[in-house]
Assembly symmetry: C2
Homo-oligomer: 103 residues x 2
DNA sequence: TTAAAATATGCAGATGCCCTAATATATGAG
DNA sequence: CTCATATATTAGGGCATCTGCATATTTTAA
């Protein structure tokens, strides 16, 4: 069964979203943002990551529509913008489910 | 908040699983295997992929414990071996949910 | 044991991602 | 305007992944 162009495009999009999430630092950021929007400083401080590196990851995720942002004065708040990303994180980061299935 | 070693290991494992799934051809294979175990030939025939390439992807997924296999005579049947992988596929490949959120 | 079918492996060029360091830009206070 | 804080961008070396191609291995039948 050869996939149609639309199906291929859809697969590539799904894979692209998963590639964004498939990264330890980005997973940590996403987990943190489950608690609500946060500024860049709050994020890299909480996770003990370099500022520039954190900003890169945030912008990457935003460019892939996984995050959205909102400026308030000198600060920028990031938040999760994709409902499916939340579901994926729950599949992978739920304590009970993961310890048995993934670990 | 610096993560503990155990937390880091867990994140890396979750990310590793996601990396395996984050690939168009592997997603197609996994979707196909949702319908039950299949032989290599059934898979590469159904998906119109090169045999060697398909075998590589299958072995990769098996090495990461995403798939399991069972030999029956000259044929090898592959099946999904990780419940969370199924959940992830559903997050990403469910028709209605995806068109609106990921596409 | 020879042949055919089914599956697996090795290799290699190309591409892309990871992460660090340095630097640039934007915003608001004074 | 100048400074300090907050955020973003650029550059680059190193490493892993992608994927086509050739070939090897395994299994069964004859």
């Amino acid at each position: 069964m050869t996939p149609t162009d639309a199906q291929l495009a859809h697969l590539e999009k799904a894979a692209a979203i998963l590639r964004v999430v498939a990264h330890p630092a980005r997973l940590r950021i996403l987990q943190l943002l489950e608690g609500g929007e946060k500024t860049v400083t709050e994020i890299y401080t909480a996770l003990d990551l370099p500022q520039a590196y954190t900003s890169q990851q945030l912008n990457l995720m935003k460019s892939k529509d996984v995050l959205a942002s909102r400026r308030e004065g000198p600060q920028v708040f990031y938040r999760i913008a994709n409902r499916n990303v939340l579901k994926i994180i729950h599949c992978v980061c739920a304590e009970s489910a993961v310890e048995t299935d993934l670990a």
